[in-house]
């Protein structure tokens, strides 16, 4: 029999080279009967470890290696769930400086590795003290304390073992044999050593006692263990016996879901009221659907959870905080009736099963976007309402990817030739914990007893479990996302009319700069070609420019079909009801479910698993099974095998990398709202965008100049007149003093209280460092016509006549404001450009070869179907923006963000006024300024 009572996984961050899966796979190969996970001071890996061990038929034992206040180590194993709770509570209390070790039932204590307190004393030959310490512990943990003989092929191991055995005899304590496992295979030692160097911030050539000495910390075979513990057979027997003493039952947390008396009834009552408000009594579909959804929710036990979310958005409503439900939750009528989401799933035929289904019994995932400035307020509300002990954020483990691994490996001085193989070994190992996730959970029981917690820098409590494990523990995640666009919408607080013709016309003309989700060059080109007429056109277009539809080659056919240039066909007539709204093409994730259901006879749950198999890598086997199943069932139902294969290939090419329709609809709604406001209230709209930066695709200067092109009058900064925050009203956009970088809030406040000012002398309450940006932004222009003189005056020097050149002024405005109210970079180049150079406005109306000059924005290099490189970017001048496409062939032209260039190319009238780049020359600083 073989057991491992001391095993570190990669969750001992940068101190374990194997993920739980590798440990369990190896353990299973070697015939291990039981394995204990004992990561350093955390239990983040336990659920994954337990799940995998059970699958492999190995008894999982959950434990932890504690680091005590003196730096010594102690191994703790949980006999059962009670023990696990004690471990959690201890770990969670150490963050508060508590050092009371767990005692009593449920736990077993092992004296630790070579870094254990007893072992350290023995190595210092302080045998008496070691004996006394053992005595203290034996009394502290009667019947539960074991002397750990940890064999790691290090010097003086036998000496330690002999001394511990001596203590065991004197105190009648049992001994247990362990290997302090830090990786599955001995060959992984260099990887572990490299990780240790990263952890310690040292180079491979540096000597450090924290590094391991040799490659002995792997999962040994039975004979290797017998060899290591040949003279101490009792310790091996002791280890088996201890493994036996731990409960067979795997750890199962109690139900942590928030419970509410009569939750089902309460939820139903609120939902039915919502239904009555939102649908006419003649609607037959809605009530039947609501009934069904409520039943599924009640069966799965999530009514209480829905009530919590309902309460949260009710508070948001009461406090007038903008929000918008997104994701698959928008496919639920219950969500809609509770006002969690704002898109009618019945009218838009959104699928509920993508969100919840009984057979899948996956937890509901409700994501809500809130105004970014108010999100924390709502989090505070939840903590206050349910108690700090019951609310926690979730984290994400940042795992090694290629770049990160390469950086770390270079930093520790790994020779170049070894780097590729080490990148592979590092790949996927967790490196650090990121605590800034938007997800949170609400529990019915004190979290500190059930999950590992950490404190984020923000002071919030965070569960240090992967999000899948959070689900496994039975906690339901709620995502409070923050969206700056919602902040902008809240700020405008203007009425939006549905189905506005002018708005659709504006979108169709590609004038969408600043509009949520449809402002990128790819989107604006799409909008000009499909010319959306209604809301569902926008829903489709939001989902179209995504890897799934692009890779599945849906975009061009969609445009052609929308423009009635191509016949709408269906691979199978049976698919018509599901694909009609997208012209016979797959655009949404839900359509995958529907097709699998219709043609393959899949249950909704099966279809959703198929969708997942299509999305996730490493599921080839599962995907193959699904394919066979789909083809067989489709054949049974009378579809030809050719058609069935073609349909499945279509599903596969879509690969699930699409948006779900429910989510697109939520986003499309925000897109429509922002488009409407841009169309009818441009000053208010662009003002709100500037106040909620960074937001969207383009820099503030582009936003400001777009406002100007829309006829908005921009009022420059003036310390005596400007509002504190930028404000647009009735066609005028007053820039706010808050745009000035480096000006702190107290100063802003003082300015607003003390103004008007007539000279620099009256501003002596502001430090020169903060006055400087005020001068450069032009806010003090009323004091003097020369900004440079003001600067001299500011530093107490006699002013020297003369001022900055207009170009110098412009550069300084860009520096302190990220925009210039009076100038665009291109204006300074006009006089030096060849006579044939067109402005953006003219270029867009001139098909054929042209010469154009502008500033380069947002270059990006998307992956293409053919693999040939392509660069997309925007070029802007004072009259507009031109979208440029560049296919690098032969000589590569560098495309630099912010660069100012003269370009030649061809304007393609068919492709929505896109410029196909031929040549590009960068212009240096302008000549005459």
């Amino acid at each position: 029999m073989t057991v491992s009572l001391h095993t570190h996984s990669a969750y001992s961050l940068l101190d374990g080279a194997s993920l739980p899966r590798e440990l369990i796979t190896r353990g299973s190969e070697l015939g291990y009967k039981a394995m204990a996970l004992t990561d350093h001071n955390n239990v983040s890996g336990v659920w994954e470890f337990q799940r995998l061990a059970l699958e492999a038929g190995i008894k999982p034992i959950i434990g932890c290696e504690f680091t005590l206040f003196d730096g010594s180590h102690l191994t703790v194993l949980a006999e059962n769930y009670l023990g696990y709770e004690k471990i959690c509570r201890y770990l969670n209390s150490t963050h508060k400086g508590d050092n009371n070790l767990p005692t009593g039932d449920g736990i077993f204590i092992l004296s630790g590795c070579r870094n254990g307190r007893l072992q350290r004393l023995i190595l210092q030959k302080r045998y008496r003290e070691a004996l006394e310490q053992a005595q203290v512990w034996a009394r502290f943990w009667p019947g539960r304390f074991f002397l750990e003989l940890s064999h790691d092929q290090l010097p003086r191991t036998i000496e330690i073992f002999s001394a511990l055995t001596e203590i065991a005899t004197r105190l009648s304590l049992p001994t247990v044999a362990t290997v302090d496992v830090h990786y599955a295979y001995p060959e992984k030692f260099p990887v572990h050593d490299a990780l240790s160097c990263v952890r310690l911030g040292i180079k491979l050539n540096d000597v450090n006692p924290e590094r391991s000495f040799n490659n002995a910390s792997y999962l040994c075979t039975e004979s290797e263990l017998k060899e290591r513990f040949g003279s101490f057979p009792k310790a091996l027997e002791g280890a088996y016996a201890l493994a036996e003493m731990c409960e067979v039952e795997p750890l199962r947390p109690p139900n942590l879901l928030p419970v509410w008396p009569d939750a089902d009834e309460k939820l139903a009552s609120i939902a039915w009221q919502g239904l009555a408000r939102k649908y006419s009594p003649t609607n037959k579909q809605a009530p039947a659907r609501l009934q069904h959804e409520l039943q599924v929710i009640a069966t799965l036990g999530y009514s209480g959870y829905f009530l919590i979310v309902y309460d949260l958005v009710s508070v948001a409503k009461k406090r007038q905080i903008c929000y918008q439900g997104r994701g698959s939750a928008a496919g639920s009528l219950v969500s809609y009736c509770l006002d969690l989401t704002q898109v009618d799933p019945v009218a838009h035929n959104l699928v509920f099963e993508r969100f919840l289904s009984i057979e899948r019994s996956q937890q509901p995932d409700i994501d809500i976007d809130f105004d970014w400035q108010k999100r924390n307020e709502l989090w505070d509300y939840l903590e206050h309402k349910y108690g700090h002990e019951f609310v926690a954020g979730i984290c994400s483990f940042h795992c090694y990817r290629e770049d990160m691994a390469k950086n770390d490996l270079l930093r520790i001085g790994l020779p170049d030739k070894l780097i590729p193989s080490f990148i592979e070994s590092f790949y996927g190992l967790p490196r650090h914990i990121a605590t800034h996730s938007s997800g949170l959970v609400i529990s019915s029981k004190s979290l500190s007893s059930h999950v590992p917690l950490i404190k984020a820098v923000t002071g919030r409590t965070i569960i240090s479990l992967d999000k899948d494990d959070v689900e496994e523990v039975g906690l339901v995640k709620l995502d409070l996302l923050s969206l700056r666009t919602l902040g902008a919408l809240a700020e405008m607080d203007l009425p939006v009319k549905a189905d506005d013709k002018a708005t659709y016309e504006m979108i169709s003309s590609g004038k969408t700069l600043g509009v949520f989700q449809i402002e990128s060059p790819a989107q604006r080109s799409l909008q000009q070609r499909i010319k959306p007429q209604n809301f569902s056109d926008i829903v489709s277009s939001v989902a179209l420019i995504r890897p799934g539809p692009i890779k599945g080659n849906m975009v061009e056919p969609f445009i052609k079909r929308q423009r009635k240039e191509e016949k709408i066909t269906y691979l199978d007539e049976e698919l018509k009801p599901y694909l009609e709204k997208t012209h016979g093409l797959i655009v949404f994730q839900e359509q995958v479910i529907q097709i699998a259901t219709a043609l393959g006879g899949f249950t909704p749950g099966e279809s959703d698993r198929l969708r997942k198999a299509l999305t996730q890598k490493k599921r080839e086997v599962e995907l193959k099974e699904f394919r066979d199943l789909f083809l067989a069932r489709a054949l049974d139902r009378g579809t030809s095998s050719e058609t069935a294969e073609a349909v499945f290939d279509l599903l596969q090419s879509f690969a699930g990398y699409g948006l779900c329709e429910a989510h697109s609809a939520s986003f499309a709604q925000t897109a429509y709202k922002t488009a409407y406001l841009r169309c009818h209230y441009p000053a208010e709209f662009f003002g709100a965008l500037l106040n909620n930066q960074p937001l969207g695709y383009y820099p503030p200067q582009s936003v400001l100049w777009e406002a100007k092109r829309c006829g908005v009058k921009v009022i420059p900064l003036n310390i005596n007149l400007s509002p504190l925050a930028t404000m647009g009203k009735n066609g005028e956009l007053c820039l706010g003093l808050n745009l000035i970088k480096g000006l702190h809030d107290p100063v802003l406040k003082a300015i607003s209280q003390k103004r008007p000012f007539h000279s620099l002398a009256e501003l002596d309450f502001i430090s020169p460092a903060q006055l400087r940006p005020l001068v450069l932004a032009g806010a003090l222009d009323s004091f003097s016509s020369s900004r440079r003189s003001l600067l001299w005056e500011l530093w107490g020097t006699k002013s020297i006549p003369g001022d900055f050149t207009p170009w110098e002024r412009f550069l300084r405005e860009m520096m302190v404001l990220s925009l210039s109210p009076t100038a665009h970079a291109m204006q300074f180049y006009r006089s030096q450009l060849p006579a044939a150079t067109l402005t953006a406005e003219k270029a867009l109306k001139s098909p054929g070869s042209i010469l154009f000059a502008g500033q380069i924005l947002r270059p990006h290099r998307p992956p293409t179907k053919s693999g040939n490189p392509v660069v997309f970017f925007v070029m802007e001048d004072e009259t507009g923006q031109v979208d440029v496409t560049y296919f690098p062939r032969g000589k590569q032209l560098p495309i630099r963000e912010g660069g100012i260039a003269l370009v030649s190319g061809t304007i393609d009238k068919e492709r929505a006024s896109n410029l196909l780049l031929n040549d590009l020359t960068y212009l240096g600083a302008p000549r005459q300024v």
Binding site: Q153, N205, N214, P415
Partner: protein, 75 residues
């Protein structure tokens, strides 16, 4: 005094010759493994600490190829 030698030696029937004196190993006191600079291609070495007759204390390293080195001596 500790001396680091790193001298190749031959051990036959628990005996080896060092500086012209033949030592016989009477007890293996300790044994451990030590990784070299693996990133430079150095191998893992096995070490044995032995007590000898005539009285001496030696650290002997064994390479993966089975070669033995007298690594250190302790007076």
């Amino acid at each position: 005094m500790t001396h680091i030698w790193q001298l190749p030696i031959t051990i036959e029937q628990d005996s080896f010759v060092f500086h012209g004196v033949e030592y016989t190993i009477c007890k293996k006191l300790d044994r451990w493994l030590e990784s070299g600079a693996w990133w430079l291609g150095e191998p893992m070495l096995e070490f044995v600490l032995v007590a000898t007759k005539p009285q001496g204390l030696f650290e002997i390293a064994i390479t993966p190829q089975g070669e033995t080195l007298l690594y250190q001596s302790f007076d």
